[in-house]
Amino acid sequence: MFKKILIANRGEIAVRILRACRELCIESVAVFSDVDRKSLHVRLADEAYPIGPAPSRESYLRIDKLMDVARRAGCDAIHPGYGFLAENAALPRACADAGITFIGPSAEAMEALGSKTAGRQLARRSDVPTVPGANDPIEKPEEAQALSQAMGYPVLLKAVAGGGGKGMRVVTNDAGFSSAWRDASSEAMNAFGDARLYLEKYLEKPRHIEIQILADSHGRVVSLGERECSVQRRHQKVVEEAPSPVITPELRKQMGDAAVRLARAGGYVNAGTVEFLVDAHLNFYFLEMNTRLQVEHPVTEQVTGLDLVKLQIAIASGHRLPFAWETITPRGHAMEVRLYAEDPDNNFFPSPGKIISQHAPSGPGIRLDEGVYEGWTVPNDYDPLLSKLIAWGNSREETVSRLRRALEEYTVTGIKTNAGLFRRILAEPDFLRGEIHTKWLDELLTRPHRVAKESTGAADAAAIAAALWHAKRSATNSPATQTAQSGSRWKRAGRREQLDWLP
């Protein structure tokens, strides 16, 4: 087993990984940019080293700096987490050169499977059904537009690199094509340093269902079953669950086999996720493979009882997966919501700032993978994911009721979060019946928010609280225009005091 692991990431996933290291008695090494000195992952790691200014291109995306830290700290492995360099083959190559184990697939497997176009070619060769469209990156917009006209709209523009809904646009007609192409490619450039796009036929109301696989370095590949991630906002997953409300044992078997086939064909080793679109007739189409840990991996952990990060580490250090796992039996139902610092009432604009007070829910069936804490200031340089709230229950109903209960308790003041969006989703009849698809949420958001019964009592209390807040603020005669960030004159005074003597 490894002695010391560098975690080339930040936020909740860095915390998640270092927790696994600690439980395995492996030392964890964190890295941080100038704005992350006080981040939770730095507080909790065994070691922590600065790697430059806030912009990720000057810090978290700098392979040279990461390798330098790994060498100085004497790390024998690097875990990339997700995002940043997790799908950049240059990192495993740099690791190989430095004689450090990369906790992930080989650069070759990453390229064979990770790039969407290459992945789709391999899928076709492995009898894994794919969505009609172009396999290769398209250089000229005109070319792409012509192809779109040929296939017929709607079409989907996607970045060759990366994922997470960035550099992605749906085009429904010729008129919108050029602006969509422009936005998608520049967004891709900013996010991944690679502007190339490809496109594919856009399925109506498909479900997003993905298979979690594990592949060891001894040729064993197993499926841990599916996750349904159909609730998405602009192609960004926001709610994930397992099992899927619609999948049958037969379909689960078929999709699992297809995923295992594809991973084998690509010589894949590591935890990985094979994403499919599933249409109304339960036909499934390969979408792409994520050659890394997923944001939503806890959903699978809660139903299988397995620790995917520990298993990634075990696989990377050459351990074998037990045969028994080819017949993993999940228990109950799990669901995750992604809590972001963003304002649902204002077009989901990110809302960075200081978390003034916080209450994290817990109790039966609740797990919180958190990356923040009270008093911390959410920087505006990175993805605004704060924490992931995961619920487990014996049934989908119990899971939803626990998640709703936890969301009632979940408190963050000082910044706006999207918790309210989930309180709304979990009350929608469609969602409760499991009748969802990848456009469901976007459609919901175009409709006015109807509430079954609005309690007048709560409205009264809210009016009183608003007045009390105002009265208190006046009492501390802070300027009428101040924002929550400086809500309390006393704390501010305290902070200023401290600033005078502490960085």
């Binding site: 960035k166 936005d183 520049s186 967004e187 996010a191 304002d343 009432d345 204002n346 077009n347 604009f349 990110p350 809302s351 960075p352 003034i356 007070s357 505006n380 990175y382 993805d383 605004p384 969301l407 009632e408 408190t411 963050v412 003041t413 000082g414 910044i415 706006k416 918790a419 309210g420 309180r423 709304r424 928010h449 109807r450 509430v451 609005e454 309690s455 009592g457 709560a458 409205a459 009264d460 209390a461 809210a462 009016a463 009183i464 609280a465 608003a466 007045a467 009390l468 807040w469 105002h470 009265a471 006046s474 009428a480 225009t481 101040q482 924002t483 929550a484 809500g487 309390s488 704390k491």
Partner: protein, 171 residues
Amino acid sequence: MKFEVQISGANKNKKQTRVVELERTGDTWKIKLDSEPVDADVSEIAENIFSILIAGKSYELRVTALSGGVLTVQSGLEEFAAEVTDPRAWRGRSHAAEAEGLQQIVAPMPGKVIRVLVQAGEKVETGQGLLVVEAMKMQNEIRSPKTGTVERLLAEEGQPVVAGDVLCIIA
């Protein structure tokens, strides 16, 4: 102290105006809502978090101030938007923008203007894109709230902005 609170629930367009009167009596508060006395027991739990018992019903209110003086008040599964008018500003209440018919387009959060899609004097439709602001790697198009003309354009491409910065004005 007397406050006028404009409050709305799930439906942000359905605003109600409530008048809240706070009077300290000893170590508690006498509270009137729309001049009706309310049996309310108030405690401050933490900064911005209030626990209020109204005739036995327990409410916890979590207050977050957004730029522009709007308060978000969350309680259990519900969320309210509230604007409080200070007694001192009692008559000074201004709906400036509406009054003048002008719409100020402000940056809703810190970021960078990466594209300006209109020019001063240009006619714009409701919903037409005016600028694109990037923050946290997400690009967000800011659209016109009304049909009119670009009265003034204060932002330029590449310019960093903070929440509340006026980017342009639509007449």
